[in-house]
Symmetry: C2
């Protein structure tokens, strides 16, 4: 194709498609960042942790590109109704995915602090299970977004509650390890924050699901789901 | 004034003014939520903690109203250039302020878990100083937004670094208390998460400052400041 046969002005649909394709790519990057961050943690892999931190910077850059594309579309095309919602939602979803990347980066940075110390692998098992659930949640939410399907929104909300419950259970478990042996305190504190980061990935996925609902229906979900975990209820534990 | 003398169609400027006034009110509510949450924590005041949780729901509602106003403005007025940026930024800033409210709510919920247990007040002092700094930061950022002034952006960024440094220092201190006496573990863990919530308020304030820069200049800040704390560097502390 030479320059004469190229369309120099894309159609609105083409531009919208490019925007959502960019978002889909961001989603894939975010999933990978989570996966690699938790793998780096479990394997004490400092090289992989560094890679995660570098990849998060690429995700930040992708967010700025999505925003610029969206704002340019808004300014030039002045879309209405669902097209307007699509574009506003792209800005919101890119922000959620950028935050997911930050959660991965936060975990990767803690790998450094915990490196070289000998810790029982049981400390990591719960975290891996939690991250597996959060990553599945993110993937399913992004699939729902790709197909503009709101059929499974109730199911996805239920699963966010599962993530919260698993996180609270892990919180208790880590607290118990700390009480059993004060030498675990430093590591378990880092793991508590890693677990919290993963729980927040679930929240970001649920936010994307709510944005999807808005795109499809034009309505904001009225009931604002609690974005917090339940660990504030963990109290008065016996000291082992 | 009777109905005949009322303007039924507001000017664009009036609508924009109503939008930013609503945001300013949200900012005031967010500041109050933080203040009351930390006061409730320091005074073991369960009634005030409940109030904070109720107030956060009002802030969530205000966010939805700002979004609806902004989207309606975009659809009807199809603004360009700085007007477009103003409206998009209102959506972003309301999201940041809603998250600040969530941070206050998270702290209030932990007041319940920690209630009735006897803890040395020294555990709370660092938290109060941190929250004072974060609240001042939020107030100054909102003042800068109200006057559309980017003069102090560098200063505000520096102060976010101060918040991060104070948080890291508090993190170390709380870890030390845990190691000194395992009976402190449960409370100190809750306080660690409260401190993290306050540190994140500083991040949200800085995000608002960056959005302000975008409104005024039309440029996104290229260098994405690290949104993370430095506690991942806290490692290998001696056990008392």
């Amino acid at each position: 194709m030479n320059s004469l046969t190229q369309h120099t002005v894309k159609s609105f649909d083409d531009e919208l498609h490019a925007l959502t394709a960019k978002l889909a790519a961001m989603g894939g990057q975010a999933e990978q960042i989570i996966d690699q961050a938790v793998t780096a943690l479990a394997n004490d892999d400092l090289a992989l942790a560094s890679q995660v931190i570098a990849d998060d910077a690429l995700l930040d850059q992708a967010q700025r590109e999505v925003d610029d594309m969206a704002i340019s579309l808004l300014a030039r095309r002045q879309p209405m109704a669902q097209d307007l919602r699509e574009i506003l939602s792209a800005i919101r979803i890119s922000a959620e995915l950028e935050r997911v990347g930050d959660m991965g980066k936060n975990i990767a940075k803690r790998v450094v602090a915990m490196s070289g110390t000998n810790h029982p692998s049981k400390l990591y098992r719960g975290l891996q299970a939690l991250s597996e659930l959060a990553r599945t949640q993110l993937k399913d939410v992004l699939d729902a977004y790709a197909s503009r399907s709101v059929d499974r929104l109730a199911y996805l909300r239920d699963r966010d509650n599962q993530i919260d419950a698993m996180y609270t259970s892990l919180f208790r478990e880590l607290l118990t390890y700390m009480m059993e042996d004060p030498r675990n305190i430093s590591t378990c504190t880092h793991l508590l924050f890693c677990a919290k980061n993963i729980e927040r990935i679930g929240d970001h996925a649920t936010n994307v699901a709510e944005i999807l609902y808005y795109i499809v229906t034009g309505q904001q979900l009225d009931h604002h789901r609690a974005k917090d975990d339940e660990t504030h209820r963990v109290t008065g534990m016996p000291i082992a």
